[in-house]
Every structure is written in structure tokens, then in C-alpha cells.
């Protein structure tokens, strides 16, 4: 084989390629809270010393810091997983009105099939709801190229831009051409109140501008090479996006394609032209009928769509044949090993006590969610980040004398548990909140957070003191205990606190067993 090439190549994951592409495009500031499958984007960016990169407390904070930097005049990026974007929707919806100064890119990694998530919401709808453009790479190499494109479009159209990835793109690797960094001169920060102070009078005017901007983006969508028509054999045409394009290209290399890389706003004329050029038209996409609904709206009669059973989970090469034949999805179970708490994990001790006392345990997102699985089976709710704290309160409002407690991790407590604790104190709730403090963001691979006292680059910073924080919130008692090999003492403490008619915090502190490796 061995074709000599002068292009420098590296073997990068979609996340790494995206980070590299953003760096090459002159990125300055990047913020995120860890979340599979998006975590490695910030980790890869942190390796470039000229960048200002941070783990933020949560996604809302990350969004606002990164967007603030863009308004301040430097190219910046916010990255999150799909459910992380929910936390940042508040700033997102209005930042689209205000627009940017330097380029601002929102990277969202969806998780079809929920490899490591609590739902499989489809971020593409945010384009319509939030009124902003969405770019969709179909491979790691495209992730790098598209993010650079996104910075340019953000500045050209004065709007935040979403780059939407999926687990399959974030976590697959490809040889990617790498190039030098193009520095961007910082833009001037001006006091432009009509643009950045979104009070009704200004926001009404900005909404008009936003609608006009969408028209311009629609026109751009028709012209851009990101929406690529590949006319070959016109007997069959595929209208598709994301990794589905790659599966179809593999199976039907001679078919015709319209690949939507600039997904939203849609290129209606191009779609109609493509539909007219091909005999049979299939609209194929993972998850929700996003492109499908639009094509139906365009009234393209010949278009064929997937059976609704394919709206869940990932597509994969083996599913394409039956899908095109109009058959409903048949899933062949390939049972794998379920994940479980590691041997030596400090959570074992805490959950063994909760199980023994037969408590109803409100939980949320983290390694400790695995406490719901046998043999402990001692976690009974998991909806979203921070809800271990608030669910304790809600459940107790329904069952004031119930044996109900809440668990939350250290990183999750800082993310969105502390607001729930303040609420519980303020509204005189009772119960025990366990902070299962393993001194890291464990589930996503061990990232630092405010209470570890270390930054994303592992540099020392002022450490948040969880005990003092809980005391300041007004909890009736705050105990710190090492649960590991200390089950009897922990059990006695829990019994004592349960007997008190109070709001107690018990911090079970022992480092994650993977931290030592």
C-alpha cells in the first residue's frame, strides 16, 4: 500500500479531532462540565497550553463563561452531552437573540442507544426551537473541519452555532489531517446595550433581526458545500445526515446522496431538486423524524421513511437492509456484562448500610447510580443531576414520616445538588442527604471539580470545603465519615440521624479506587 503523502496525519477520535480543529481555528476559551460522550473534547483542548480551558461547575455556568468570552471578543467553545444542554438552555435561548462578537460554538454530543445516559433526546430539534444553525459532521475528520467552519459562520451571521455529534462520531477514531493554528485577532469589546441587554424593548428588536438572520441562513444552506449532493446512479437517492451517511455509503456506494452537513435551517430547494432527480427517495436518520417531518411538510410524495420502531437506539449497518425493506426493527439481544461498582469502591459500604436499613433512596447521576443494581439494589430513583437532594424533599412531602434519604456525589452536589440543599433548609424539609464523596467526577473518568482543589490541568486552586458549604446552607448537622471498612459506625450514625427530626448531611468521604491507579 504505502502511498506517500505530505499531509501530516494523526489517529484521532471525533472528540479529539473536534478539539484539534477548534484549536487550529484560533479558539481561545473553552468551558464544559464532564459528560459522556463529550468529556474528551475539553481534555484534548487542555493539552494546548495557549488555551484558556476550564471544568465549570455545571453546564449553565460553562455556557455563560464561554459565551461571555465570545461577546468579549475571542473565539470560544462550550461542549456538553445532550442532557447537559438542558441545563444550559436558559442562556442559550436568549444568547441567540443577542448574537456574538467573536465566534461562539456549542458542541453537543447526543447518545443514541444511551450507552451512558438517562435518555436519548435528539438535539437537532434545538435548531428549530432555539432558532440557530446546526452543523452535523458524519465522521471524526469532518468534526475537525466542521468546527472550524462553525466559527466562521458564527462570526459571519452573528449567531451561536451548534455542532451536533453522536457517541458513534465522538468515540470513533480516524486518520485526520492536522495543520497549524491560525491565530485570530481579538475583537473590540463595545458597550452595545441594544445588542446585549435583553430587556423587552431591545429583545423585540433583536427577535426581528433573528428572524431575518434565519432567512439569510436558509439562503446559505442552499449554497453551502456542507449540503452535498452526490449524483451517481439516480435509481435510488438517500437524503441523510450524521453517521447514517457513512453506513449507507458503505452499503450502496453507487447510489445518489444528499448529505445534510449544514442540517438546519434546511435547504428546501436543494432537497426538492434532489428529490426530482432520483427515482426512489429514502429519508434516513437516527432517532427522531427530524428530517422526515420537514420533508413531509415540503410535500415530497415519493419520499419513503423509516418505520417508527427505528426511532429508538442507534442505526447500524445490519439494520439498514430491513429498514429499507420497510420491516419493523428486530433487535437481536447480544447480552453483555453489566457494569457494576468496582472492587474496592467506597460506595459499596454506603449502599450496604442503606440496603440493610431498607430505606427509600433518592439518587441521581454518577457512579453511585450503579447502587441500583444487584447485589445492593439500594437506589430507587434517577432522573437527572442533583435530584438526589430534591427528590428526598419531594418524596417526603408525599410521605412526611417515610424512611427516605437522598444520595448525591461530590461533583454532582457542586453541579446542582447545593441549590436543592438550600431549598430543603429554607422550606424546612427533613431527612438525610448523603454526599458520597469519592473526591473526583468518577463516572466520566475522574475529572477534577471545585472540591478536589485542582483545575482541569491538575494545577492547584482553592478547594471548596463541602462540610463548611453544607453548614453555611443551614443543615442541622453535617457529619464527615470514612465509610470504607467502617460499616458499623456508619450504620450507627445513620440510625441516630434518622431518629432526629432534622435535615442532616452525611459526607461519606473516601477516594475513588481508580484514582490510585
Amino acid at each position: 500500500m504505502a502511498k506517500k503523502s505530505t499531509v501530516k496525519k494523526s489517529f484521532l477520535s471525533g472528540n479529539e479531532a473536534l478539539a484539534r480543529g477548534a484549536w487550529e481555528a484560533g479558539l481561545k476559551v473553552a468551558c464544559a462540565y464532564p459528560g459522556t460522550p463529550s468529556t474528551e473534547i475539553l481534555e484534548a483542548l487542555a493539552l494546548f497550553p495557549e488555551l484558556d480551558v476550564q471544568w465549570s461547575v455545571n453546564e449553565k455556568v460553562a455556557y455563560e463563561v464561554a459565551y461571555g468570552a465570545a461577546v468579549g471578543g475571542v473565539r470560544s467553545l462550550f461542549a456538553c452531552k445532550h442532557v447537559g444542554l438542558n441545563v444550559a438552555m436558559d442562556p442559550l435561548m436568549t444568547s441567540v437573540y443577542a448574537g456574538v462578537n467573536a465566534g461562539f460554538v456549542i458542541v453537543v454530543c447526543d447518545d443514541p442507544l444511551m450507552h451512558s445516559s438517562q435518555n436519548e433526546q435528539d438535539t437537532r430539534w434545538v435548531g428549530i426551537y432555539g432558532k440557530l444553525p446546526i452543523l452535523e459532521p458524519s465522521s471524526p475528520a469532518e468534526a475537525g473541519a466542521y468546527v472550524a467552519e462553525a466559527f466562521g459562520l458564527s462570526e459571519r451571521f452573528d449567531t451561536p452555532v451548534i455542532v451536533r455529534m453522536t457517541t458513534r462520531i465522538s468515540h470513533s477514531k480516524e486518520d485526520v489531517a492536522v495543520g497549524p493554528r491560525k491565530e485570530q485577532a481579538a475583537k473590540k469589546l463595545e458597550k452595545d446595550m441594544r445588542k446585549y441587554v435583553m430587556v423587552p424593548g431591545n429583545a423585540r428588536a433583536r427577535h426581528e433581526i433573528l428572524e431575518k438572520r434565519l432567512d439569510k441562513l436558509r439562503a446559505f444552506s442552499e449554497k453551502t458545500r456542507l449540503n452535498k449532493m452526490e449524483l451517481k446512479n439516480t435509481a435510488v437517492g438517500f437524503l441523510t445526515d450524521s453517521v447514517t451517511y457513512q453506513y449507507l455509503k458503505e452499503l450502496y456506494p453507487d447510489a445518489s446522496f444528499l448529505k445534510l452537513g449544514f442540517l438546519y435551517p434546511f435547504c428546501d430547494e436543494k432537497i426538492k431538486t434532489f428529490a426530482a432527480r432520483v427515482k426512489k427517495l429514502y429519508v434516513l436518520e437516527e432517532l427522531d423524524p427530524f428530517i422526515e417531518n420537514h420533508v413531509r411538510m415540503l410535500g415530497i410524495k415519493k419520499a419513503k421513511f423509516k418505520h417508527p420502531s427505528y426511532r429508538t437506539g442507534e442505526l447500524e449497518p445490519g439494520l439498514i437492509g430491513p429498514l429499507l425493506a420497510g420491516q419493523p426493527k428486530k433487535i437481536k439481544p447480544r447480552p453483555g456484562r453489566a457494569p457494576r461498582l468496582c472492587a474496592g469502591c467506597p460506595h459499596w459500604s454506603a449502599f450496604s448500610v442503606l440496603k440493610k436499613l431498607d430505606l427509600f433512596v433518592a439518587g441521581d447521576i454518577g457512579c453511585y447510580t450503579l447502587g441500583a443494581l444487584p447485589p445492593t439494589s439500594a437506589l430507587h430513583t434517577c432522573i437527572c443531576m442533583g435530584a438526589g437532594v430534591t427528590f428526598n424533599e419531594g418524596l417526603r412531602r408525599a410521605h412526611p414520616d417515610g424512611n427516605i434519604v437522598g444520595v448525591v456525589g461530590d461533583s454532582t452536589f457542586v453541579h446542582s445538588g447545593v441549590t436543592g440543599l438550600i431549598n430543603a433548609v429554607y422550606n424546612r424539609a427533613r431527612g438525610i442527604i448523603f454526599i458520597l464523596d469519592n473526591s473526583t467526577t468518577a463516572m466520566t473518568g475522574g475529572q477534577n471539580h471545585p472540591a478536589t482543589g485542582r483545575t482541569i490541568r491538575n494545577e492547584p486552586t482553592r478547594a471548596l470545603n463541602l462540610k463548611k458549604l453544607c453548614e453555611a446552607c443551614g443543615a442541622d448537622s453535617v457529619d464527615v465519615i470514612d465509610p470504607h471498612g467502617n460499616v458499623k459506625e456508619l450504620e450507627a450514625l445513620v440510625k441516630k440521624r434518622l431518629a432526629a427530626d432534622a435535615l442532616s448531611v452525611i459526607i461519606c468521604k473516601h477516594p475513588c479506587v481508580l484514582l490510585k491507579r
Partner: protein, 161 residues
């Protein structure tokens, strides 16, 4: 006929070095001038869950995933996982399962199992030795490079029983 795309499926349990093994093959194919795609899911693999990695290389690769019955090679790191992974193998594909026990005997450090299996795989692939060596240097830190080179060479030179 010369194959256009090579499909290799790796699988086992978290912590066995499966990701590293597929990384090694990926870099070797890249250094040899191929287009490479590798796909895996490692969301909760650190918690002992199943791990699966697909590597595809050739002149031009589209899908990052290998479909059932499409793998030319299967490298299974754990006997328990074999029934789950076997359906990936194409008719006439090479299953390195019989080599697993020999690989385990061959190595002093269980952490070298991945390199032993990839070394065996290397005997079947058209990738040149120089590209493998460059890949070994890329993937392993200097401290453990020599031991991995040794295991790789030994496994590659073995004769099939």
C-alpha cells in the same frame, strides 16, 4: 483477489487493554498508508462492563462499525465474551480464540495480553513490520515499550498449531 477493506473485531471485559490493542492496529494501519476507522463504546467499561472495538482499514472506509458476519478477524480477550462476539465473524474469517490460552502462557505480565493477541494478528495482515514498530512506539510509553516489542515479536513469529 486483494481485499479492499480489512475488518477486525476486538472484545472482552473492561481493563483488559482492548482499547489499547485496537489503537495499536489503528496506528499501524495509518503508518502503512491506509484509511482507518475505529469504533468502540467505553462509557462504563472502567466499571467492568463489556468492551467492544471495531477497526476497519483499507483504501477508503465509510462505516465505523462492522456488521454481523463481516469481520475478517476476531480477537476475543475473555472466553466468556466469545459467544457474544462470534456472530461478527464472516464465513472463513479468522478467529484467534484458540490462541488465547497460548497467549496467556506466553506472557509473564497479564497486561501484555493485548500486545500478544495483536502480534498474532499481525502475522495475517499485509501491514509492514516498520509500521508496526512505529505504532508500538506511539502507543506504549518508553518504560514498557521493550517488553511489548518482545511479546509482539514472539507472538507474530509463532506458528499456528
Amino acid at each position: 483477489m486483494k481485499q479492499t477493506v480489512y475488518n477486525v473485531t476486538f472484545g472482552g471485559v473492561g481493563g483488559q487493554g482492548i482499547i489499547k490493542a485496537s489503537e495499536l492496529l489503528g496506528w499501524a494501519a495509518l503508518y502503512d498508508g491506509y484509511h482507518v476507522k475505529k469504533s468502540e463504546v467505553h462509557g462504563m467499561s472502567q466499571r467492568g462492563g463489556s468492551v467492544e472495538s471495531h477497526v476497519r482499514f483499507g483504501k477508503r472506509v465509510f462505516s465505523p462499525l462492522i456488521g454481523e458476519g463481516q469481520a475478517d478477524f476476531l480477537l476475543c480477550f475473555h472466553a466468556d465474551e466469545h459467544p457474544r462476539l462470534k456472530p461478527f465473524l464472516r464465513k472463513g474469517g479468522v478467529d484467534l480464540a484458540p490462541f488465547l490460552a497460548r497467549a496467556q502462557e506466553m506472557i509473564d505480565n497479564p497486561r501484555c495480553l493485548n500486545t500478544a493477541l495483536v502480534g498474532r494478528l499481525a502475522a495475517y495482515l499485509p501491514i509492514r513490520e516498520a509500521s508496526w514498530q512505529k505504532a508500538l512506539e506511539t502507543v506504549f510509553p518508553p518504560k514498557i515499550l521493550d517488553v511489548n516489542r518482545e511479546v509482539f515479536a514472539k507472538a507474530k513469529a509463532l506458528r499456528d498449531k
